[in-house]
Symmetry: C2
Subunit: 565 residues, 2 copies
């Protein structure tokens, strides 16, 4: 926590108040929209935007992260709820509360165990593929409220099957409202900032105006809906929203239900955490601030538990709203807690107006928002850089689209781990020689270097561990068999960051085999921590040759004729 | 394949003939013993020692590896067979044939795909733990034929339960024969070589005599059994062994059975392959020869398929018999094929005598052989070197003893992979400075070095990939937040062997965040292959700072005051 805040608390309060007001204006329509996306009554979205914000402010570490319902988490919630056997007698709301509670517990436990690093196994290509595929599913799922088509399902296959079943019967008034909103939002995103700048606004104000535009769409739509009685025209509207404070709720705790939801809850916790930390770190860096991932786990865990006990759906840190919070000048976590007051105000006094809001408008805001997440170019970009990463990305996209969100994440992680292990199991190795006139040693195949026929200098570009230890044995056996003139082998370890017990056994084996073949085995450039560990074993006693501090020292000792400047 | 063999084939023939004779003498009792260990009729062991040897000679790559039934594979066969539902109507022999066929197919497929490297994921501690635990189970399983106790089961729990159920009723004559054999074999192993040397034999001849000793035990036991009619005394004997050539058999191909056996077959293939390659490489190195793991897969696969179609049990390369083959002077793979002739001879003319052999003698040879595999000291040795490796080893031992062999292997591999990934996800990093009077850079915490307050030199000792990319982001954000005076950050990449797409994104993020924080981001000592890849991305265009060839170049450019000699 920054020192300066304690020294002059009043100085940051006005900034936090302004930011809180802007964020809460933005949060109201988003909360409604994401609750509908999750297949829940709209008020669960509003409830999730009150107490969770206060809980995060109490335990989280970011000064600007704005939590609440977000698109991808809402989709995951919808998928998880729809997967529950209807015969179990669990209402969607009860399932959402259980899911929030379970995610909260998962996050808190990982935070308490300081296991935030586990999220690192979700690679960027997997997250990127996951986001693209999820956004596609969300867009497709919003075709129903946008067009009035009665579709169903949360994978492309399900929705396609559903579309084939019901046929294509547009409800024209609904579609007109939806498309008009999409056009306005696209205009606000792409053209409004330029216009605002020409009208004299600063760049950051112009961007803020563009981001707040959905709120104007909502206000205009409500006015139009009341004036022209959209409901009578058959356009679906949000309908009655309970007025007043969030209720006190108890999530259902049946073990069977919790077991059913555990994978989904873990996926929600993981994705929510990764996204939140990434947003928080990006914004913190702009002020030379930092974020503690383990405290983020606690903050997000507390936010989800708060949601579970106050009638809310699972929550996470949102990208757009956090940037708005930052741009509006939020100075401390108090801004987040103050936004909760704004939502409370809306719940006390604005719900009668929200009832008239057409669902198609909310669908349009969701579609325009998540369409920014679709990034097919990323596949090509990653493909050019590393095909293994592109493979993990494509598997993730395919499995999310075909099997659903949690399976996509699991498959992506499995594929990226397998490909990583495969790569490190066949490390790059180079026979090296001395670059004339220097103490440098480079690959004999790439450079003109000095070598002695009876000394083989081998550089291995990987830490030595079980997956590549036997590969090293095989490669060295091959080199020795191919070059009967060799009397000394020097293994250059400048890129070896550790040697595990398997690799140690392999080094022993190599030493033993080289001894029977009449070759002396030396090591050079071993790092401090690796050497500390080798000294605990008997290997250095058995080593037939020496350990040289540098490859050049090895050259001076083994082939002095080549060491002359 | 060595050139010299083609130029003068007759020169190696006598050596191969002698080696073949010695190996086949040794193989006869071993084949009987391991068939009994697997819970199969003794002839399946003999059949597995004929055609498979020829098949391996045709496709394998080692000149001295002797294949046939081996202890651990026999135990795995016994476990797999005992796991088949008796209601399925599959005889143990049919199951063994199916298992051999399936292992053969697995090995051939992996050989054809050149996936021999997959075996590398079986770490040394896992193999060592697996061998210790398997040997314990084998020893316990042989208490029944050794003592005449009617025990059952293939895990310690099962055998313990069985012992508790039947009580301790020794059959004294059986136990006397068994214990006498054990005493003789221990004497032959530990004292005979010294005696033979004092009698004037060379060291290698003395070792050979010690290894052939079990054959004498068998001959003496058969003579005693016939003379004193052991069978009438209630001592279990091998009984009638079918005389003649191995039969032509077809393994049962019911999909349900094959699915049941698939995990066991994969484990047999994996363990057999790893052990064979290790034996073959050790022996090849003594002659500066090498072994091709992918051809070993084909050779072992062909051997198992040959076993399946000629009435045999699953086979693998054996350690003891390969050393005997080597010491007896085998020069080419022909020696292996010729041993098959020796076994054939035994099957034609010696089976009437083998019928009188007490099973307790075979049990004694198994116990004495596998007791060499038990190595509890390894746990302590590995523990002192690396606790993560010791953990993987202990999990393997525990799971093999409690749940069985395949589960133990699977658990060991899973634990070692998880621990490896965990380790690389939190790489060692050091802030470095220049060692006065040199161009070397070392850790500021360990050495007295020169640093400039506005330049932070950070060395990361690990390849950058998804599991540690975000850790790097967090660490750098922390460093920058803690040191507001920093204007330049130089990331020293001498130990970075690759940068995957996730880490590239993280470098982009770090660059972006440092830019907003007013810090210039530089890289130094990037390796050739890593640089080639970075050049394919847009990262170097975005980089706010420079890429320095060496850390010293960075020093000269950024804080020239410190660069003076």
């Amino acid at each position: 926590m920054p020192q300066d805040r304690k020294l002059r608390p009043p100085a940051t309060l006005p900034a936090d108040l302004v930011a809180a007001m802007v964020v809460s204006i933005m949060l109201v329509p988003q909360s409604l929209a994401y609750a509908l996306l999750a297949g829940l009554p709209v008020e669960t979205g509003l409830y999730a935007s009150v107490l969770p914000l206060v809980a995060y402010a109490a335990l989280g570490s970011s000064r600007v992260l704005a939590v609440g319902p977000v698109a991808v988490i809402s989709l995951m919630t919808a998928t998880a709820i729809s997967g529950i056997d209807p015969a179990a007698g669990v209402t969607p709301i009860a399932a959402a509360l259980a899911l929030a509670a379970l995610s909260g517990v998962v996050l808190m436990v990982f935070g308490a165990l300081k296991l935030g690093a586990l999220a690192n196994f979700l690679s960027h290509p997997v997250i990127s593929g996951f986001m693209t595929a999820s956004a596609l599913i969300i867009i497709v799922s919003q075709v129903k409220p946008l067009s009035g088509l009665p579709l169903d399902g949360y994978t492309l296959l399900d929705v396609g099957r559903s579309l084939a079943a019901v046929g294509f019967h547009l409800h024209l008034p609904t579609a007109a409202v939806g498309l008009a909103t999409i056009m306005f939002l696209l205009w606000a995103r792409h053209l409004l900032p330029g216009l605002a700048r020409r009208l004299g606004l600063s760049a950051s104000r112009a961007a803020l105006a563009s981001r707040i535009a959905p709120v104007f769409a909502v206000i205009v739509a409500i006015a139009a809906s009341i004036t022209f009685d959209f409901k009578a025209m058959g356009i679906a509207v949000v309908g009655a929203v309970p007025q007043g404070l969030p209720p006190l709720t108890l999530p259902p705790l049946s073990p069977a239900l919790l077991l059913d939801l555990l994978l989904a809850a873990a996926a929600i916790a993981l994705i929510g955490f990764v996204e939140s930390v990434s947003v928080a770190q990006t914004l913190a860096a702009r002020r030379r601030d930092s974020v503690d991932p383990d405290r983020e786990l606690l903050g997000l865990g507390a936010a989800n538990l708060a949601a579970a006990f106050s009638g809310g759906m699972p929550v996470s840190g949102g990208f757009a709203r956090s940037i708005v919070n930052f741009d509006a000048g939020a100075a401390t976590r108090l801004a987040g807690a103050l936004s909760a007051l704004g939502i409370l105000f809306a719940m006390m006094y604005l719900t009668p107006y929200l009832a008239a809001l057409p669902k198609a408008v909310l669908a349009a805001t969701i579609i325009v928002t998540v369409s920014q997440l679709v990034d097919f170019n990323a596949v090509g970009r990653v493909w050019r850089y590393a095909r293994t990463d592109a493979a993990a990305m494509m598997v993730t996209i395919a499995v999310v689209l075909a099997k659903g969100v949690e399976w996509g994440v699991a498959a992506g992680v499995a594929v990226s781990l397998a490909l990583h292990l495969w790569r490190t199991s066949r490390p790059h190795m180079a026979v090296v020689g001395r670059v004339p006139g220097s103490e440098h040693f480079r690959n004999v195949l790439r450079h003109h270097v000095l070598t002695a026929p009876e000394v083989l200098n081998l550089r291995v570009d990987e830490s030595l561990y079980f997956a590549n230890a036997r590969y090293l044995e095989t490669q060295i056996a091959q080199l020795i068999a191919d070059h009967p003139e060799i009397k000394h082998l020097v293994l250059m370890c400048s890129a070896v960051n550790f040697v595990d017990a398997s690799a140690l056994e392999s080094l022993e084996t190599i030493n033993e085999r080289l001894k029977t073949a009449g070759v002396t085995f030396h090591l050079s450039e071993i790092k401090g921590p690796v050497m500390d560990r080798l000294k605990k074993s008997a290997f250095l006693d058995h080593l037939t040759g020496q350990v040289f501090l540098s490859q050049y020292d090895a050259l001076k000792a083994l082939s002095p004729a080549l060491a002359a400047p």
